[in-house]
Symmetry: D3
Subunit: 158 residues, 6 copies
């Protein structure tokens, strides 16, 4: 392991802390995360509205994801509160999964990867909640950052 | 698709609603969910405390998961508020992943699968937050219900 | 004024308190509230989807109302936390207003009028937020309880 | 309807999103909203302290309104989190109504109309909660923005 | 140390958890906590309204304490969510301190000592906030449970 | 009492308000607060891990304190929401007490004394919660600001 690699959120004694970012620059930052909810064929049909109104189902998950992005510092203990300046969450029903993508923007001192991941995770949980009466075995998978930009570390793409 | 299969959280016109559970019995209910965070070898070493204090890292994720279980109805729009009577969250560092398991108990009118899944998801997000300075590519995966019991639908195991 | 009429939420010295309801019965209780958001003809056309996709707009307000019902004791200082067992929120676009109706159910020690009113109010605020770029002059009006049942005071209809 | 009029909170496909405001200027912004709670003569007498201590009643509603202004992005799904720099809420007991007025200030990228309206709405809900044992028929009405200033759209008065 | 004495909130491996209370009885429970905020003579005079309106100051602290009691499980990680059935908070201005007392009632499976202590602590923090422009040196002290009753452990008085 | 000394959080009529800080400068600000939880000798032994794993106990209190700092404006009614840029909470087990210290940093328009005091108070409440099965008589004491810097009032040390 490279010298000096360490978990930045714990200090030299091992105690957790919220890292001081006051020296970091206020810059425009963007992050995109994605994830999938694996669901049964029956759920796919219902979400596509075959035979019955699909109604608000995906819309509810989208709203849940957007609201969750704003709650990130309330959920993830060492995250900084951030001035989020935009959030979009997309849900797309594939043949065996609901594909979710979230993009979060800020103009602040830290990146928004955690906000994008939180938006995807909570949108995914909401999908599971809505389909669980039909498919108890739904699985949330592959939740990950796809790209981020802004700040000292600049552009990063998976 | 079987006749009558439908998304219980939307009514016949497609509008989302919180399903009325007042007729359901108050019974002891338990649910267990699991998930994994795929991390680099370097992160595994850090979390195992090789060479540096691993400190609070896993403990922070455990607390985040427990607190998130209580926040489930605040996050997942159509979930009922529930009298949670117990939560445990376990984290185990494997060779290429952190394994997370959460068990939630209630004595109420609905099951606690969503609470268990939310605990796992937020513990996983917290792990990602703590390792992201070392491993930007961490992935949350296989978040799913393993078993539930109690209520009309009785015992269910994946 | 009838003898003994008083504000139950302040004690004899005038101090606010959360009234003790431990002696009240746990019974099924329902309340329905309604309200309207007065909007311009242009907004009515947009919400009806004339010429452009109306999309999620009313669905977002519906979700906001449902989630707000659960947040009532967090917002209204002297409200008791309640085991809400069901919430539905309906929005209907009239010729000069969006009509909102919310019904909340519980099986607990106090009524759910405040939860129903909070659901209507926050759904209304969300409608205003979504139309304000087109109509700065929208007005929330006639937010009121229509009916309640359950508990000692029994059935009440406006 | 004028060309191009649209609901800014839904994209061209109709999906809700939190609009990106990162390009907007950070400027001092103020908004004032008002509303009324129609109450019975008996309630007016109680709130004016005739014969009994009126106590904290209006003070509780004032605090509820101030706190709610800070919770706006938690309640209204597509609102941006904002650095609120000041809030005042006034309540005045008229002959048949409690008159409420809220002024919110910020130095940020979006206006604070929604914060002012939320403060008025939650103060009004709190008034209803406190008088509902005496007057079940209270009505919240005429909740609206009176004036706003700051930002690109400048001064606006109803 | 007596055999078997242990911290109930950590399991045999030292991991924190929310203890399972599903086997405990639902009974009426009450707890009272007290505390003090030591303040300067100048603050005492202001809070007593000598020469200037003391206004809402103590009322704001009372509301903050009541609302905080409801937020206890959101703040104290291993506390159970509880159906609080009543809260009162009293503040009394002494010669060198503000005396605070809170009583919380529930009918549930666990005691409400933490809710009473949280109400006192947040009321105290609110007093400090309101006097800090005049007295930077205010101290919160002697926050403690005075008495509790209900549940298996029965009556306890300090 | 010096002329003009007054409670800044109430206006000339005595009404509470959130003071307008838009004219204050955005500067780096730091505050440190401390406090103690008086506990029995038995608790001291358990927290030091004599004979049994002390496990996460202090770590849970540390996380609770950090998260509470971020919730300050949600708890203390007249506090401004702030862009917190760093939080550390230390807990040290003495011979008859757990000593707690919290330091909070921001780059914003108001100081962070309340955030530091809230972090200490909630960490202390969490300690009490964890030891209460062993020691019902624990007392939170001497919660106070030790030092602050930044802003117009500059450096202040107790």
């Amino acid at each position: 392991m490279p010298d000096g690699a360490r978990l930045t959120h714990v200090d030299e004694s091992g105690a957790a802390r919220m890292v001081d970012v006051s020296e970091k620059d206020v810059t425009a930052r963007v992050a995109t995360a994605t994830g999938r909810v694996l669901v049964s064929a029956e759920v796919v049909a219902l979400l596509r509205g075959e035979g019955v109104p699909k109604g608000d189902a995906l819309g509810v998950a989208r709203v849940a994801g957007i609201m969750a992005a704003k709650r990130t510092p309330d959920l993830v203990p060492l995250c900084h509160p951030l001035a989020i300046s935009g959030v979009s969450v997309d849900l797309d029903v594939g043949d065996d999964a609901v594909h979710i993508s979230a993009t979060v923007r800020t103009t602040d001192r830290t990146g928004v990867e955690m906000e994008a991941l939180t938006a995807v995770s909570v949108a995914a949980l909401t999908v599971v909640d809505m389909v669980k009466a039909v498919d108890k075995a739904a699985v949330i998978t592959d939740v990950r950052v796809e790209a981020k930009s802004g700040g000292r570390s600049g552009e990063w793409t998976r």
